[in-house]
Symmetry: C2
Subunit: 362 residues, 2 copies
Amino acid sequence: MSTAPTVYDVAERSGVSIATVSRVYRNPDSVRAQTRERVLAAARDLGYVPSGNARGLASRSTGVLGLCFPDYADPDTDAEDDDAAMLYSDQIIRGMERAARRHGYALLIAASLKGGPESLVAKVAGRVDGFAVLARTVPTEELEGISRRRPVVMLAGPREEGDHLDHLDHIEVANFDGQRELTRHLVEDHGLRRLAFVGSAEESPDVEARFQGFLAACRATGVEVPDEPAVRAVMMTQAEGARAADALCDRDGGPPQALVCANDQMAVGALHALERRGLAVPDDVAVTGFDGIPLGRLVRPTLTTVRQPMLRMGEEAVELLVRRLNGTPDADPVSLMLPVTVARRASCGCGPEEQAAVAIGA
Amino acid sequence: MSTAPTVYDVAERSGVSIATVSRVYRNPDSVRAQTRERVLAAARDLGYVPSGNARGLASRSTGVLGLCFPDYADPDTDAEDDDAAMLYSDQIIRGMERAARRHGYALLIAASLKGGPESLVAKVAGRVDGFAVLARTVPTEELEGISRRRPVVMLAGPREEGDHLDHLDHIEVANFDGQRELTRHLVEDHGLRRLAFVGSAEESPDVEARFQGFLAACRATGVEVPDEPAVRAVMMTQAEGARAADALCDRDGGPPQALVCANDQMAVGALHALERRGLAVPDDVAVTGFDGIPLGRLVRPTLTTVRQPMLRMGEEAVELLVRRLNGTPDADPVSLMLPVTVARRASCGCGPEEQAAVAIGA
DNA sequence: GCGCATTCTGTAAGCGCATACATGACTCTG
DNA sequence: CAGAGTCATGTATGCGCTTACAGAATGCGC
């Protein structure tokens, strides 16, 4: 692992100047074929790999796009089953990677833990030409500064009015419409009326939108519910979902007829908690989630949920970034809303077979 | 999107030298608190983000690890169902990301398409401190050169004897043992004797090892099979799996009793093809895969397969890289073999419930 | 108040590459 | 065969940061 060879080494070995070496890589046609071969041969001999850092510094661009996402993994779950570990951020990653590749970019990913918030984004931001951020992964103020200098697209968080971030491109899904339709389904098609929403609306604008959709459906169907979520979860993990389910069951009046969870992970946690208590899903309590992670189809009963088009979200994010990168850097901010689908599965009482679903919203 | 501020701007604005600005970020304690605050305030005002390129250049390290993987996605499948798009590389990505984060690294990922092979690895290699490569993603010779200058770990390809790459760290799974056990199960527990192996052994050393495991089980149980795979697939995608299934059914003597596929994607493709032909799985033909991707549990019948611990593979890869990076760069190459588990599900005739599985190999 | 040990901060020299510009070698024209 | 025009290559500079090293400021004991 000796010191890596540089353009200088290659230049010396092939008897040309460093400029020529550089040209061989950046603009091969501008070098005579014979010279080029000599240079490439020397490079091969030396095991030369151009330094991305130096290249980036000199050319002011990296050829890399980035993604910052929160780490919502349930540590315990993963150990026993890889599948369960695939969260929705993973699908966004794949979507972005694929689209990035099409445009000649690589993808740099980093999850933030509550720990060093600043370092994370800064690290990513400093190494990419542009990046996407999953809602609330990064403190607003920090993004504010960063986004002045390079393209950033917000994912999954509705734009915040009056916020300093409204100059950012933005992609969200039909949280409101999706949750409203799912809730309507519970009430009208399954006749459930005592519903409880699980999830902290303050935590994330997505959850807030979902909760509002939930409320809208309740009002429209004449179901009474409190003006705020029955249980606030801090993290949106399985553990929190289980805790929420337990808390709701222990309340006066017993468990509600349906647990409407703000995401799939909490719903799965609730499923487990209810099973431990000997309550049957969906007969005693219906449970629904939101997201459409693979795990939702692996649990029993299979989880009724609202599916987000996550791959597409990742792809669209890249498209927006690329557009800004070559062309219209100062165009007005774009705001996309992608449609969702309600996946009716077993946990709401729809039986084992998944029902055909239609796109909702946007 | 004006020119981004630099240390110089921050230095000027806060009335210090650029060295002090740098120190504030690299080594905060070495700067007086009062000075530090001034600098940070100026940085905040300007929206300053340190350039990763410049930092990397000057400090000769990037704080980034990389992963190169092949793109085996089935383009058509993805559109209709995000879940189906989650391949095994995605799980490796997650495993690596998580471990990388623990060690303070970000992760750069890039899939290679057959197209520009060189540019891909070179690009990644030039931007990271070390990286992992999924078997055969990268031409051997190219890796040869690169790996002389920075840590590389090979994933999922058995080390090739006499190869120039045997100085690389290496992680594989118990391909041979896993496939042998699965094959034994088909023959001894289900009484199947006309088996066909689908997959090109030349393409990948993993497939070769699996095929050898298949052969070993056949010999041990007295089942006769040809010395090479019944069908060679070029890509290991669903489309290829379907084609293979069709080809085998059209042969003289009709379909075999079992299709032993070299990976899950091909197995799923075979499942579809058989269904189209009106053949029942597992009653007419049993089908098995290898990998344990989430999709395998979503198809009907659920897919019997050999599960690889992919998350763990990603994590171990990072551990190996990190170890080389800080400490023992020239230690002897490490070779890890991770155990697999046989997941007995419906497609081999074991019924809908997944059977408890035990670790095999290593 | 002085000398010396400690901080703290500034100066300067790269890190490896891209690229504008200058130079040199040819070819072509008249 | 001189001069203009091409093409290939070299020279020189700077990208934004880190980091010895040196220098200034501060604190301490006496």
